[in-house]
Each structure stands twice: as C-alpha cells, then as structure tokens.
C-alpha cells in the first residue's frame, strides 16, 4: 500500500480566504481518502453528506480519544480528553448525563425570550459604531463583543470579564495554546465563576446556566467549572467568527446581499443558507472519531482503532440540495451540517442562530451601504486558532 498523502489541512494555505486549502478539493474529489496529518496521525477523510452524517451519528464511532494523539497541524490540545466535564470527548450515557441538563438552557422558546435582550445589545453596539464614524473594524465593534455579552448573560457571569474570556479562548483553541497559560487563565476565570456559583447556591436561582447547573444537576465542582468555561469560550468564539465570515461572503456577493435587504424578515432561512455555504466552502476537516469496530462508510472500511475525520465540504454535496455549490439565499432551509450532527451537535446552535439572525438583520438595515474598506483578499485571517475567522474587517458606510 502506498503511503498516505499529507493532508492539506485547513486552515493553512488557502488560495482565497473564504475557500478551501490549496489542493483540498482535488484530494477529496474521488471519495474517502486516507491522509496523514503533519503530526504523523493518519485517518480517513469523509466529505459526502451521507458519509459525514454516518461518522457523526453511528455509535460505532467514538468521540473519546482515549489518550491517543489528536490530529493537529501543530501544537497539542490544552484539554486532556479524560478531564472531568470534557463532554466533547465522551460517548453514550456519560455524555448524555452532562449534555441533557445543559440543553434546557438553550431551548427554542428560551432563545425566543432572549431576543429583545440580544437586539438591545446589538443596537447599542451599532449606535456606538455610528457615533464613532467610518471606518470601523467590524470584528472589534460588533463580532466579538456581542456574542461575548450574550453568553455572559446566559451563563449569569458579570460581563466585565470579557477580556479574560477572550484570552482563555485564545489558549484553549489556539493551535499552539499553552497548557500552562491556559491553566493560569482558567484558574482566574474559575474564581469569577466560583463567586457566581456561591451566589446561585444561596439564592436557589435557576434562571441562567450556572444557576441551572448548580441547583438542578448532580455535576460536581470540577465538571461544572470546565463546562462553564467551555460554554463561555465556545459561545463567543464561534458565533463571532461566523458573523464576520457571513458578512464577508455577502460583501463579495451584492446580488445575494440584495435578497437579504429586500426582505430581512427571512433572516432565519438566510442564516441557514449562509451557514451551509460558508462552512462548506471553507471545507474544514477537523472533527475526528475513532472506530470502535470495523465500519463501512462510503465504500471503504474504517478498521477498529482507525480515525475517521469529517470535512464539512459535505455541505456542498448535491445529495443535500440542488446546485449545492452555489450560495442561494432564496433557497428554503435544508438540513446542513454546519452545526455538526449526532449527539455532539453544537449545543448552542439555537443561540447562535438567534444571534446571527439579529446581527444580520440589524447591520444591513441600519447601514444599507456598508462595504469593506479594503478588498476581502487583503484582510488578515486568524491562522493561529482551531477556529477560523477574520482578525479585522475594516468597513465604511
């Protein structure tokens, strides 16, 4: 058998900042392919819609690395897969025990109740942007602070610690995150959270996530701490990156932006299509699962103990929808994989959807002529994080 080719892993070496890494599409064009990551770990990459759904939902694939090295372009993950509360690395009942009580905090109706508060936060930031005048950096003015304030609100953590959340996220999700620095920041954040925990214990309040975890679950202190930090980090990092990427996608497609501006009340459907297309086009191959026994996927056998890695290029699979390679904001929502699939599907998906809908509606209604101050291809993107996004988005209006 020939040696597996080295995978052109996202996000290195993109030809266009919103497109796949060079050579990636060619590499996966003939179905599943076995590749080697720069740190020597090998695995199968799946990029068909059905294949990705199978890898993410079939119980024969485990999310637990069980001490095995993760696929990395560089560095090592700061979180141990066996750390209590690291539910991303758990399967079955163990995972459900942590996941289920948290779902309650992200219920669809709860998100609907949060709308006015999110709208208020967005409006305040748009007001500030207008007062300050053009040019502005959309990342600093809107993309970062809004999700950060919203998740702090949802958890019940005082919002003035935003910078600490961001610094922690940088270590937790950085490609070269330092375990030592992460632990120091997590300890600081831990003190902030511990104070909230004590207050919730005393008051019995369950109106926010920490209150809910403290008063209505059997989570121990260590689990609760890591889950709270995880929610804070995940809650602002991902939404913030994607709002930036959506905006850039629309800047490059005035014809599609016009569809949003014509009828902003369709923001719910539009967010789904932007999510499907933007993530699909980036092609990210990141999430990995270990086969517990031999499993057939897309015509190949992933042997017991081997890795399967999914590429969200699957969002552009014609099996999902017609002309899947095209952005079409008039499309009705389809079951894309932008939030993942299976038991580990993004816990905060409904919150992210709500925030992204409000952000899109508000930004492009309030500033109908907003446009990039420099071409998208000249902007800088974050290559140092597992999560991808623009470092700054200079805009004028």
């Amino acid at each position: 058998m020939t040696e597996a080719a080295v995978c052109p892993v996202p996000h290195d070496n993109r030809v266009h900042p919103l497109g796949p890494p060079a050579g990636f599409e060619d590499a996966i064009s003939n179905g599943p392919v076995r590749m080697r990551w720069p740190n020597g770990v090998e695995g199968w990459i799946f990029s068909s819609y059905a294949g990705v759904r199978k890898v993410l939902s079939d119980k024969r694939f485990s999310a637990n690395r069980d001490g095995a090295p993760a696929m990395r372009t560089e560095g090592e993950p700061v979180l141990d897969s066996s750390q209590p509360g690291n539910m991303n690395a758990m399967d079955g009942e163990e995972h459900l025990r942590l996941r289920r009580p948290l779902s309650r905090g992200f219920m669809v109706k709860r998100m609907a109740e949060m709308r006015p508060r999110i709208q208020q936060i967005v409006d305040e930031h748009l007001d500030a942007m207008e007062r300050q005048g053009a040019p502005a950096d959309l990342v600093a003015s809107l993309c970062l602070p809004v999700p950060s304030l919203v998740i702090a609100d949802l958890l019940g953590v005082p919002p003035e610690h935003q910078e600490l959340f961001q610094a922690t996220a940088k270590q937790m999700l950085g490609k070269n995150g330092s375990k030592v620095e992460y632990e120091a920041l997590a300890a600081q954040l831990g003190e902030v959270i511990a104070k909230v925990v004590a207050e919730k214990k005393a008051s019995g309040d369950t109106s926010d996530m920490i209150g809910l975890m403290v008063n209505e679950t059997d989570f121990d202190q260590e689990e609760l701490m890591l889950l709270a930090i995880g929610l804070l980090v995940a809650g602002h990092e991902t939404t913030s990156n994607f709002f930036g990427l959506f905006t850039l996608t629309l800047f490059e497609r005035p014809d599609q932006l016009e569809i949003l501006q014509r009828d902003p009340s369709r923001a719910d459907v539009i967010v789904e299509e932007l999510m499907r297309y933007t993530i699909g086009r980036l092609g990210g191959a990141g999430i990995q699962r270990k086969a517990l026994e031999d499993v057939e996927v897309d015509g190949v056998t992933v042997k017991a103990g081997e890795w399967a890695v999914i590429s969200l290029h699957a969002n552009l699979d014609e099996e999902l929808c017609p002309h899947a390679g095209e952005l079409d904001l008039e499309r009705k929502a389809v079951s894309h994989l932008g939030f993942g699939f299976g038991p580990h599907q993004c816990l905060g998906a409904n919150l992210a959807r709500t925030e992204l809908q409000i952000l899109l509606q508000s930004l492009f209604t309030r500033f109908p002529n907003i446009r990039p101050a420099v071409p998208v291809t000249e902007m800088t993107f974050r290559e140092d994080m597992i999560t991808y996004g623009a470092s700054a988005i200079p805009v004028v209006w």
Partner: protein, 68 residues
C-alpha cells in the same frame, strides 16, 4: 379515508436540541422540566407532515420517527 401517520420521540436518547421544534413548531415542543422533545400532535394532519419529515431528517440524535 387516508391512513393516519404516527409521530414518536424516543426520549431515552433525545438530547433536547430542539431541531424538531424549529422544523414543525405545531407538532413538537420542548419540556420545561428537562428540555427534551415532546410530541404535541401524535397523529398530525397531512398538511403538517412535510414539517414532521423535516424534523425526522434534522434530528441530530435520530430519535424522531414517523410511521406512515
């Protein structure tokens, strides 16, 4: 007379993602007690079936079923 269709949620494996509520809000809800999916109309009329099929397809845990 068309045969009726029956909707079910396997609550033992439901993760409370709420995808079914987004797909068919008239047919599904989430319990205030635990966030898990609830079937409001177990034999929905024909006009609600497309939404239910969407819910079956979207459910990340694969626990929504429709017997037609």
């Amino acid at each position: 007379m068309p045969k009726s269709a029956t909707v079910r949620i396997d609550q033992t494996r439901c993760i409370g993602s709420g995808q079914c509520v987004l797909a068919a809000p008239d047919v599904f809800d989430q319990s205030d007690d635990d966030g898990l999916g609830l079937v409001l109309i177990s034999e929905p009329p024909a006009e609600l079936l497309p939404g239910v099929r969407d819910a079956v397809d979207r459910c990340p845990a694969g626990v929504v079923s429709l017997e037609e």
